[in-house]
């Protein structure tokens, strides 16, 4: 029975070339499908959630210089599931075109602070952090000022982009 040049030098060369080709093609195919597979699992895990501005109210109904606690509905996207969550935000109208919005979460350990009109301060009931209207820490363990939220005003409507930040650290860092 004849053989396909198995034992000859030429046959060995041919065999080596074929083995190399098989290995290279297998490796490349593995990369061509493997990298996308890995990317599809790892990349989304590292992406930050996209936020959108939510309408919280009319600017002309706010009193200038007085903090107000406003509730609003925010559409939350959890992958393909969209749900509406209620959030609150402290807003201070500086002028008809300028409004400051604070996250209602204390940057110390996440408690909800309150506005005390008599002392003109924000006070956190948990550990006694005190902030002024500009969000600056006046007293207590809070490591940073109150966290501001992005705002925009369109056609007299105030929009806020809801974000959450890491607590207990001096830098404002989005979660």
């Amino acid at each position: 029975m004849g053989q396909e040049k198995e034992g000859t030098e030429d046959g060995l060369k041919r065999r080596g070339f074929m083995e190399l080709t098989i290995a290279v093609l297998a490796a490349l195919s593995g990369l061509a499908i493997g990298l996308p597979l890995i990317g599809s699992v790892i990349k989304p895990s590292l992406q930050k959630g996209q936020q959108r501005f939510a309408r919280v109210g009319k600017v002309d109904t706010l009193k200038t210089g007085t903090p107000e606690d406003l509730n609003f509905a925010d559409i939350t996207e959890d992958a393909y599931i969209r749900s509406t969550d209620l959030h609150s935000v402290w807003v201070i109208k500086n002028s008809d075109t300028n409004v400051t919005a604070y996250s209602p979460i204390c940057p110390h350990l996440g408690c909800r602070y309150k506005w005390q009109a008599d002392s003109d301060h924000f006070v956190c009931p948990c550990h006694g952090s005190v902030f002024d209207k500009d969000g600056k820490v006046l007293a207590g363990p809070a490591p940073r000022p109150l966290d501001t939220l992005p705002t925009k005003i369109e056609n007299g409507d105030l929009y806020v982009e809801w974000e959450q930040f890491k607590e207990g650290i001096p830098q404002k860092e989005t979660i």
């Binding site: 004849g2 198995e6 070339f17 098989i22 290279v24 093609l25 490349l28 195919s29 599809s40 989304p44």
Partner: protein, 663 residues
């Protein structure tokens, strides 16, 4: 180091033996490209297995999340388009490769003693592959998959005696629903998969035991080759070519977005996947009581023949030239299979229905004058069929027009009715088609006058009595199956006392509905749009339909749509128009005759239909509802990179070999 590692493993586990078992084999007659089909099928199976498992990172098998979760994978997950696309096209490739492999084995006579078990396991793998295709199709829970499963389980239900039971077991209930999806899911990813892996193991072990069959010519068999590396070398080359073709198909012919499954949609015409088209077409030869013969009898007989083949054809002769009966049967079966598949592919159920209607009415389109034929086209493109039925086809909100030609109404009356319906009935809900020119009016009336035979036709929807018409004028149509008329607004509702706010419309309050979050099918949306929306928004949404009493004087164009709705983010764009479709809107003006009905609130359209229409409206405004938000690497770029890498590598290896060989 590798030698030491190999030795270490060999002392504990038979690694070297297993490798030898896997690749050391003589091939009588030597290696050949003719033998690559089995290995290539395994390569594609591996792609299917990996991409199938990977989809489970995102896919959720529930009727409320299956469609959305898969679309999320396809558009928002990096390379999700590739993973799903490879699985989609890989399924078709599997069937083609399995059938080609079977054909080669048949021609080579490789099913004969002692290879009967290899053949039987192969037939099991063919059935299992078809089963994977059948159970995989409904998993996206889109229109295609839903209706494929509906038709498929109904075919199973036509089996005499046990059909109903089989259908109920497949569905998990009396109708398609969550339990059906769960069953198809578990069959696809577990039970049939296990059968596939088991069948493959038996197939490969039996193949290794009996070895390759080689050529039937003894002279050619005298030469011998090895499976490793030469046959694997051929396998690898063909495998890579098939892999690149699959990527090309994913990039240039991506799987369609068929729109969410809608059990009450009557505008979708189901057609099975291509690999079941032969069965679908064959059924046409077995009408009525003979149907089970086509659905079950012949397929069962064909499978039985395949199973019995090695036991019926026991002569050792393998040369096809000396097996005329086997070759003739194989040829006839192939021609029948391919012919039925092509015929099924070319057949159009809608045309079939239309031709049926044409046969039953004396006024077939063949007898229509050219003017009436133009009028027939206008009748559909203007959306008249959304409200009026002709020969049982069309909406039922307006009178049936099947016998309009013999109703005794004059040409002038009909023209007047189309141009100004209020002149005949001040309370009518029919919109005025005043934008039509004289020629179009004549064509439309020619068509209407051509309708009707008088004797053998039954009117499917009675012409509403004056009382019924009056009731329709004030009540928005709320039945899901009925196409709505534009709402006619009572004067008190629109009389804003001249305090026009400047806005062209007053949108009804309300949030976006469920449809806004769903990626509809623009293709199906165009059909729905022409049925439901063109009568007011014009053909393809270009407007031009008058709305007396409104400030704008016309129904707004949707092509292009008012810029305040447009957003390049398809989700936001869809939400913007969804509010109007769900809740309706009233045009500003002293006394607008037409208002946008609340299609969603009144359940006039299903949320699935609304999502399809929204996808279409986005498309005519150049925004793709299913655009890739996060492709990883854009598809075309990925294809070019892959092709370039493999080409350069192939050229480099060939040059390396050529230099070494010539040196």
């Amino acid at each position: 180091m590798f030698k030491n590692l190999k030795q270490w493993i060999d002392e504990r586990w038979p690694l070297t033996q297993m490798i030898h078992l896997g690749i050391d084999e003589d091939i009588p007659g030597g290696s050949s490209f003719a033998y690559v089909l089995g290995s290539t099928t395994i390569i594609v199976f591996l792609i299917q297995a990996v991409t199938g498992i990977w989809q489970l990172f995102y896919y959720v098998p529930t009727v409320d999340h299956a469609y959305d979760s898969l679309n999320y994978l396809r558009t928002a997950v990096p390379f999700g388009w590739l993973i799903h696309g490879l699985h989609y096209w890989g399924a078709s490739a599997m069937i083609i490769l399995v059938l080609l492999h079977l054909a080669r084995v048949f021609i080579w006579g490789a099913y004969k003693r002692p290879r009967e078990i290899t053949w039987l396991a192969g037939i099991l793998l063919l059935l299992v592959t078809m089963g994977m295709s059948f159970t995989g199709a409904p998993l996206p829970w889109d229109e295609r998959g839903y209706w494929a499963a509906e038709v498929g389980t109904s075919i199973a239900g036509s089996v005499p005696l046990v059909g109903n039971l089989v259908k109920r077991i497949l569905l998990g209930a009396s109708t398609m629903g969550q339990l059906t999806l769960s069953r198809f899911f578990i069959l696809h990813i577990a039970l049939i998969s296990i059968l596939l892996i088991g069948g493959l193991a038996i197939h490969l072990i039996a193949f290794r035991k009996s070895g390759s069959v080689g050529p039937w010519d003894d002279k050619k068999r005298a030469k011998s080759g090895r499976f490793w590396p030469k046959q694997v070398f051929y396998d690898a080359i063909v495998g890579v070519v098939v892999f690149i073709i699959l990527i090309g198909l994913v990039v240039f012919l991506p799987p369609p977005f068929a729109g969410p499954a809608d059990p009450i949609d009557t505008t979708y015409v189901p057609k099975p996947e291509w690999n079941f088209l032969f069965l679908y077409e064959a059924l046409k030869f077995f009408p009525g009581k003979l149907e089970p013969l086509g659905t079950v009898g012949f397929p069962a007989l064909a499978i039985l023949l395949l199973v019995l083949l090695p036991f019926l054809d026991r002569k050792p002769e393998r040369n096809p030239a000396r097996r005329p009966y086997a070759m003739a049967i194989g040829f006839v079966a192939t021609v029948a299979l391919v012919g039925l598949t092509v015929a099924g592919f070319l057949s159009n159920p809608q045309n079939a229905q239309a031709s049926k209607a044409a046969v039953s009415t004396p006024v077939s389109s063949g007898k229509l004058s050219s003017s009436a034929r133009e009028g027939q086209n206008l009748f559909h493109s203007l959306g008249c069929s959304g409200c009026h039925s002709v020969m049982g086809s069309g909406g039922s909100a307006g009178p049936d027009l099947s016998n309009e030609g013999i109703s005794g109404r004059t040409r002038d009356w009909l023209m007047n009715q189309i141009k100004n319906p209020n002149s005949h009935n001040p309370n009518t809900i029919m919109p005025a088609f005043s934008s039509l020119n004289d020629q179009q009016l004549t064509q439309l009336v020619d068509y209407l006058l051509s309708l009707g035979s008088g004797d053998n036709l039954s009117i499917s929807t009675p012409i509403p009595s004056p009382q019924a018409q009056a009731a329709m004028n004030t009540t928005p149509v709320a039945t899901p199956q009925i196409s709505p008329e534009p709402t006619i607004i009572p004067t008190s509702q629109t009389d804003n006392g001249g305090t026009n706010t400047g806005s062209a419309t007053t949108n009804q309050e309300g949030p976006p509905g469920l449809a806004a979050d769903v990626m509809g099918s623009a293709q199906h949306g165009s059909v729905l749009f022409s049925n439901e929306c063109t009568s007011c928004h014009g053909n393809q949404g270009i407007g031009g339909v008058s709305n007396p009493g409104s400030d704008d004087g016309e129904v707004p164009s949707l092509n292009p749509i008012d810029s305040e709705f447009v957003d390049q983010n398809p989700q936001i764009f869809a939400e913007n128009i969804d509010r109007i479709i769900q809740h309706g809107s009233i045009p500003s003006g002293p006394n607008p005759k037409l208002a946008m009905p609340a299609f969603g609130e009144t359940n006039t359209l299903t949320q699935q239909e609304i999502s399809d229409i929204e996808a279409y409206v986005l498309q005519i405004n150049h925004v793709n509802r299913t655009q890739l938000v996060n492709p990883g690497i854009p598809p075309k770029q990925f294809f070019l990179i892959t092709l370039a890498v493999f080409t350069v590598t192939g050229v480099a290896l060939s040059l390396g070999w050529w230099f070494r060989h010539s040196g």
